[in-house]
Amino acid sequence: MLNPQATTDSQNQTRPDEEVWLTPRVDISEQKDEYVLEAEMPGVAKETLEVLLENNELTLVGRRAHREQPGEPLHVESSRHHFRRTFELDPVIDANRVSVRIEQGLVTVRLPKSEQAKPRRIEVS
Protein backbone atom coordinates (compact mmCIF):
# COMPACT_ATOMS: atom_id res chain seq x y z
CA MET A 1 0.00 0.00 0.00
CA LEU A 2 0.91 3.59 -0.40
CA ASN A 3 -0.28 5.46 2.62
CA PRO A 4 -0.70 9.19 2.76
CA GLN A 5 0.37 10.10 6.24
CA ALA A 6 -2.02 11.80 8.56
CA THR A 7 0.63 13.87 10.29
CA THR A 8 1.64 16.00 7.35
CA ASP A 9 -1.72 15.80 5.71
CA SER A 10 -3.94 18.24 7.48
CA GLN A 11 -4.81 21.34 5.55
CA ASN A 12 -4.26 24.83 6.90
CA GLN A 13 -2.12 24.09 9.90
CA THR A 14 -2.08 27.36 11.73
CA ARG A 15 0.90 27.30 14.06
CA PRO A 16 2.41 30.73 13.49
CA ASP A 17 6.03 29.57 13.19
CA GLU A 18 5.17 26.98 10.60
CA GLU A 19 4.53 27.44 6.94
CA VAL A 20 1.00 26.70 5.83
CA TRP A 21 0.81 24.03 3.15
CA LEU A 22 -1.97 22.94 0.91
CA THR A 23 -2.53 19.21 0.54
CA PRO A 24 -2.66 18.35 -3.15
CA ARG A 25 -5.46 16.02 -4.26
CA VAL A 26 -4.14 12.68 -5.44
CA ASP A 27 -5.20 9.58 -7.32
CA ILE A 28 -3.23 6.43 -6.56
CA SER A 29 -3.55 3.17 -8.43
CA GLU A 30 -1.69 -0.11 -8.39
CA GLN A 31 -0.85 -1.91 -11.57
CA LYS A 32 0.84 -5.25 -12.02
CA ASP A 33 4.37 -3.96 -11.84
CA GLU A 34 4.07 -0.44 -10.50
CA TYR A 35 2.13 2.11 -8.47
CA VAL A 36 1.07 5.32 -10.17
CA LEU A 37 0.45 8.48 -8.14
CA GLU A 38 -1.03 11.62 -9.67
CA ALA A 39 -1.08 14.85 -7.66
CA GLU A 40 -2.77 18.13 -8.61
CA MET A 41 -0.49 21.14 -8.25
CA PRO A 42 -1.85 23.99 -10.39
CA GLY A 43 0.64 26.81 -10.82
CA VAL A 44 3.66 24.62 -10.12
CA ALA A 45 6.29 24.30 -12.86
CA LYS A 46 9.01 21.72 -13.36
CA GLU A 47 11.58 24.05 -11.80
CA THR A 48 9.58 24.57 -8.62
CA LEU A 49 8.66 20.95 -7.95
CA GLU A 50 10.73 19.08 -5.38
CA VAL A 51 10.53 15.34 -4.84
CA LEU A 52 12.22 13.81 -1.81
CA LEU A 53 12.64 10.09 -1.27
CA GLU A 54 13.90 9.17 2.16
CA ASN A 55 13.44 6.27 4.55
CA ASN A 56 10.52 4.76 2.69
CA GLU A 57 8.84 8.15 2.50
CA LEU A 58 8.03 10.11 -0.59
CA THR A 59 7.48 13.85 -0.16
CA LEU A 60 6.20 16.13 -2.88
CA VAL A 61 6.73 19.87 -2.46
CA GLY A 62 5.36 22.17 -5.15
CA ARG A 63 5.88 25.90 -5.04
CA ARG A 64 3.64 28.13 -7.05
CA ALA A 65 5.31 30.74 -9.12
CA HIS A 66 4.15 33.90 -7.40
CA ARG A 67 4.24 36.09 -10.42
CA GLU A 68 3.31 39.63 -9.65
CA GLN A 69 -0.10 39.87 -11.16
CA PRO A 70 -1.21 43.15 -12.62
CA GLY A 71 -4.27 45.08 -11.55
CA GLU A 72 -6.41 44.80 -8.47
CA PRO A 73 -8.29 41.69 -7.37
CA LEU A 74 -12.07 41.81 -7.71
CA HIS A 75 -12.68 38.22 -6.68
CA VAL A 76 -10.29 35.61 -5.27
CA GLU A 77 -10.92 31.90 -4.73
CA SER A 78 -7.44 30.49 -5.29
CA SER A 79 -4.96 29.98 -2.50
CA ARG A 80 -1.45 31.36 -2.57
CA HIS A 81 -0.06 28.61 -0.36
CA HIS A 82 2.41 26.05 -1.65
CA PHE A 83 1.71 22.33 -1.85
CA ARG A 84 3.19 19.57 0.27
CA ARG A 85 2.27 15.96 0.96
CA THR A 86 4.13 12.92 2.25
CA PHE A 87 3.43 9.29 1.43
CA GLU A 88 4.66 6.16 3.12
CA LEU A 89 5.95 3.73 0.53
CA ASP A 90 5.35 0.04 0.36
CA PRO A 91 8.68 -1.78 0.89
CA VAL A 92 8.19 -3.58 -2.44
CA ILE A 93 8.82 -0.31 -4.29
CA ASP A 94 12.18 -0.06 -5.96
CA ALA A 95 13.24 3.42 -4.86
CA ASN A 96 16.03 3.57 -7.45
CA ARG A 97 13.63 3.48 -10.35
CA VAL A 98 11.05 6.05 -9.24
CA SER A 99 10.27 8.55 -12.00
CA VAL A 100 8.44 11.87 -11.86
CA ARG A 101 7.05 14.24 -14.45
CA ILE A 102 4.82 17.29 -14.33
CA GLU A 103 2.50 18.40 -17.07
CA GLN A 104 -0.03 21.23 -16.81
CA GLY A 105 0.11 21.22 -13.01
CA LEU A 106 -0.38 17.46 -12.71
CA VAL A 107 2.48 15.51 -11.13
CA THR A 108 2.76 11.86 -12.15
CA VAL A 109 4.99 9.63 -10.03
CA ARG A 110 5.69 6.09 -11.22
CA LEU A 111 6.83 3.74 -8.48
CA PRO A 112 7.95 0.41 -9.94
CA LYS A 113 7.83 -2.70 -7.80
CA SER A 114 11.11 -4.49 -7.30
CA GLU A 115 11.68 -7.59 -9.39
CA GLN A 116 11.22 -9.95 -6.45
CA ALA A 117 7.83 -8.48 -5.63
CA LYS A 118 6.31 -9.04 -9.06
CA PRO A 119 4.03 -12.02 -9.42
CA ARG A 120 5.88 -14.88 -11.04
CA ARG A 121 4.72 -18.07 -12.59
CA ILE A 122 6.57 -21.04 -11.19
CA GLU A 123 7.15 -23.82 -13.60
CA VAL A 124 6.08 -27.19 -12.31
CA SER A 125 8.73 -29.76 -12.99
Partner: protein
Protein backbone atom coordinates in the same frame (compact mmCIF):
# COMPACT_ATOMS: atom_id res chain seq x y z
CA UNK B 1 -24.37 27.38 -11.90
CA UNK B 2 -22.66 29.98 -9.79
CA UNK B 3 -22.90 33.48 -11.08
CA UNK B 4 -20.34 35.67 -9.46
CA UNK B 5 -21.31 39.24 -9.08
CA UNK B 6 -18.42 41.55 -8.79
CA UNK B 7 -18.94 44.69 -6.80
CA UNK B 8 -16.41 47.27 -5.78
CA UNK B 9 -13.45 45.36 -4.38
CA UNK B 10 -13.77 47.01 -0.98
CA UNK B 11 -17.32 45.72 -0.64
CA UNK B 12 -16.54 42.08 -1.29
CA UNK B 13 -16.99 39.97 1.84
CA UNK B 14 -13.87 37.82 1.46
CA UNK B 15 -13.85 36.57 5.04
CA UNK B 16 -17.45 35.41 4.96
CA UNK B 17 -16.93 33.51 1.73
CA UNK B 18 -13.81 31.82 3.04
CA UNK B 19 -15.63 30.76 6.16
CA UNK B 20 -18.46 29.34 4.09
CA UNK B 21 -16.08 27.42 1.90
CA UNK B 22 -14.31 26.05 5.00
CA UNK B 23 -17.69 24.95 6.34
CA UNK B 24 -18.43 23.26 3.02
CA UNK B 25 -15.18 21.34 3.20
CA UNK B 26 -15.89 20.28 6.75
CA UNK B 27 -19.33 19.02 5.76
CA UNK B 28 -17.84 17.13 2.85
CA UNK B 29 -15.34 15.55 5.17
CA UNK B 30 -18.10 14.44 7.54
CA UNK B 31 -20.18 13.00 4.70
CA UNK B 32 -17.07 11.36 3.41
CA UNK B 33 -16.49 9.64 6.74
CA UNK B 34 -20.09 8.64 7.23
CA UNK B 35 -20.52 7.09 3.81
CA UNK B 36 -17.04 5.61 3.72
CA UNK B 37 -16.85 7.24 0.34
CA UNK B 38 -13.09 7.61 0.41
CA UNK B 39 -13.46 7.28 -3.31
CA UNK B 40 -15.11 10.05 -5.25
CA UNK B 41 -16.05 12.50 -2.49
CA UNK B 42 -16.79 15.12 -5.15
CA UNK B 43 -18.94 12.97 -7.30
CA UNK B 44 -22.44 13.22 -5.97
CA UNK B 45 -22.28 15.78 -3.20
CA UNK B 46 -20.72 18.65 -5.03
CA UNK B 47 -20.16 19.56 -8.62
CA UNK B 48 -16.64 20.27 -9.61
CA UNK B 49 -15.92 23.96 -9.13
CA UNK B 50 -12.41 24.98 -10.12
CA UNK B 51 -11.22 28.07 -8.22
CA UNK B 52 -11.65 31.30 -10.20
CA UNK B 53 -9.94 34.65 -9.66
CA UNK B 54 -10.79 37.93 -11.38
CA UNK B 55 -8.53 40.95 -11.57
CA UNK B 56 -8.98 44.35 -13.16
CA UNK B 57 -6.34 46.50 -14.81
CA UNK B 58 -7.00 49.88 -16.46
CA UNK B 59 -7.27 48.15 -19.86
CA UNK B 60 -8.60 44.66 -19.20
CA UNK B 61 -10.13 42.07 -16.93
CA UNK B 62 -8.00 39.00 -16.24
CA UNK B 63 -9.67 35.78 -15.11
CA UNK B 64 -7.66 32.76 -13.95
CA UNK B 65 -8.92 29.24 -13.22
CA UNK B 66 -7.07 26.31 -11.69
CA UNK B 67 -7.51 23.35 -14.02
CA UNK B 68 -4.64 20.95 -13.39
CA UNK B 69 -4.01 18.10 -15.80
CA UNK B 70 -6.50 18.99 -18.52
CA UNK B 71 -6.00 18.97 -22.25
CA UNK B 72 -6.39 22.25 -24.08
CA UNK B 73 -9.20 20.89 -26.21
CA UNK B 74 -11.18 19.88 -23.09
CA UNK B 75 -11.60 23.54 -22.08
CA UNK B 76 -14.19 25.84 -23.64
CA UNK B 77 -14.14 29.61 -23.17
CA UNK B 78 -16.87 31.94 -24.34
CA UNK B 79 -17.95 35.55 -23.82
CA UNK B 80 -21.57 36.48 -24.29
CA UNK B 81 -23.36 39.66 -23.26
CA UNK B 82 -20.69 40.62 -20.77
CA UNK B 83 -20.53 37.19 -19.15
CA UNK B 84 -17.40 35.05 -19.35
CA UNK B 85 -18.09 31.32 -19.26
CA UNK B 86 -15.52 28.58 -18.93
CA UNK B 87 -16.61 24.97 -19.11
CA UNK B 88 -15.11 21.60 -19.77
CA UNK B 89 -15.05 17.99 -18.86
CA UNK B 90 -12.54 15.57 -17.51
CA UNK B 91 -13.40 11.95 -18.05
CA UNK B 92 -12.61 9.45 -15.32
CA UNK B 93 -9.57 7.43 -16.31
CA UNK B 94 -10.45 3.92 -17.41
CA UNK B 95 -8.75 1.55 -15.01
CA UNK B 96 -6.39 -0.78 -16.84
CA UNK B 97 -6.85 -4.50 -16.48
CA UNK B 98 -5.55 -5.80 -13.18
CA UNK B 99 -5.32 -2.27 -11.83
CA UNK B 100 -6.72 -1.36 -8.44
CA UNK B 101 -7.49 2.14 -7.25
CA UNK B 102 -6.30 3.12 -3.78
CA UNK B 103 -7.23 6.73 -3.70
CA UNK B 104 -9.33 8.88 -5.94
CA UNK B 105 -9.47 12.47 -4.76
CA UNK B 106 -9.23 14.28 -8.09
CA UNK B 107 -12.59 15.55 -9.33
CA UNK B 108 -13.87 14.57 -12.74
CA UNK B 109 -16.93 15.21 -14.87
CA UNK B 110 -18.26 18.47 -16.19
CA UNK B 111 -17.65 21.87 -14.72
CA UNK B 112 -18.91 25.31 -15.63
CA UNK B 113 -17.96 28.66 -14.20
CA UNK B 114 -19.43 32.01 -15.23
CA UNK B 115 -18.60 35.52 -14.20
CA UNK B 116 -20.40 38.67 -15.25
CA UNK B 117 -17.91 41.39 -16.00
CA UNK B 118 -18.66 44.73 -14.35
CA UNK B 119 -17.81 46.75 -17.48
CA UNK B 120 -18.20 46.17 -21.24
CA UNK B 121 -15.42 44.15 -22.90
CA UNK B 122 -14.28 43.49 -26.47
CA UNK B 123 -15.44 39.91 -26.77
CA UNK B 124 -13.64 39.22 -30.04
CA UNK B 125 -10.29 40.44 -28.67
CA UNK B 126 -10.40 38.02 -25.72
CA UNK B 127 -7.37 35.76 -25.37
CA UNK B 128 -6.94 32.56 -23.35
CA UNK B 129 -3.74 30.73 -22.45
CA UNK B 130 -3.26 27.48 -20.52
CA UNK B 131 0.00 26.98 -18.66
CA UNK B 132 1.07 24.94 -15.62
CA UNK B 133 -2.54 23.88 -15.16
CA UNK B 134 -3.82 27.45 -14.96
CA UNK B 135 -6.13 28.98 -17.55
CA UNK B 136 -5.70 32.74 -17.96
CA UNK B 137 -8.35 34.67 -19.90
CA UNK B 138 -7.59 38.28 -20.78
CA UNK B 139 -10.61 40.39 -21.75
CA UNK B 140 -9.75 43.87 -23.05
CA UNK B 141 -12.21 46.51 -21.97
CA UNK B 142 -14.35 48.24 -24.53
CA UNK B 143 -13.06 51.70 -25.39
CA UNK B 144 -15.89 53.43 -23.53
CA UNK B 145 -15.05 51.50 -20.34
CA UNK B 146 -11.40 52.54 -20.19
CA UNK B 147 -10.47 55.37 -17.87
CA UNK B 148 -9.89 58.62 -19.70
CA UNK B 149 -7.75 61.52 -18.78
CA UNK B 150 -9.48 64.78 -19.55
CA UNK B 151 -7.24 67.69 -20.24
CA UNK B 152 -8.20 70.82 -18.44
CA UNK B 153 -7.95 73.80 -20.68
CA UNK B 154 -7.62 77.29 -19.41
CA UNK B 155 -10.44 79.42 -20.74
Amino acid sequence: MPLIRTYRPSGWPYATLNQLSALGEELNRLFDLSTRAGLRPNDSLQSWMPPLDLRETPDAFIATLELPGMKREQIEVSVHEGVLSVSGERLPSEPAEGCSVFRSERPFGRFQRSVSLPKPVQADATKATYRDGILTVTLPKAEEAKPKQIEVSVG
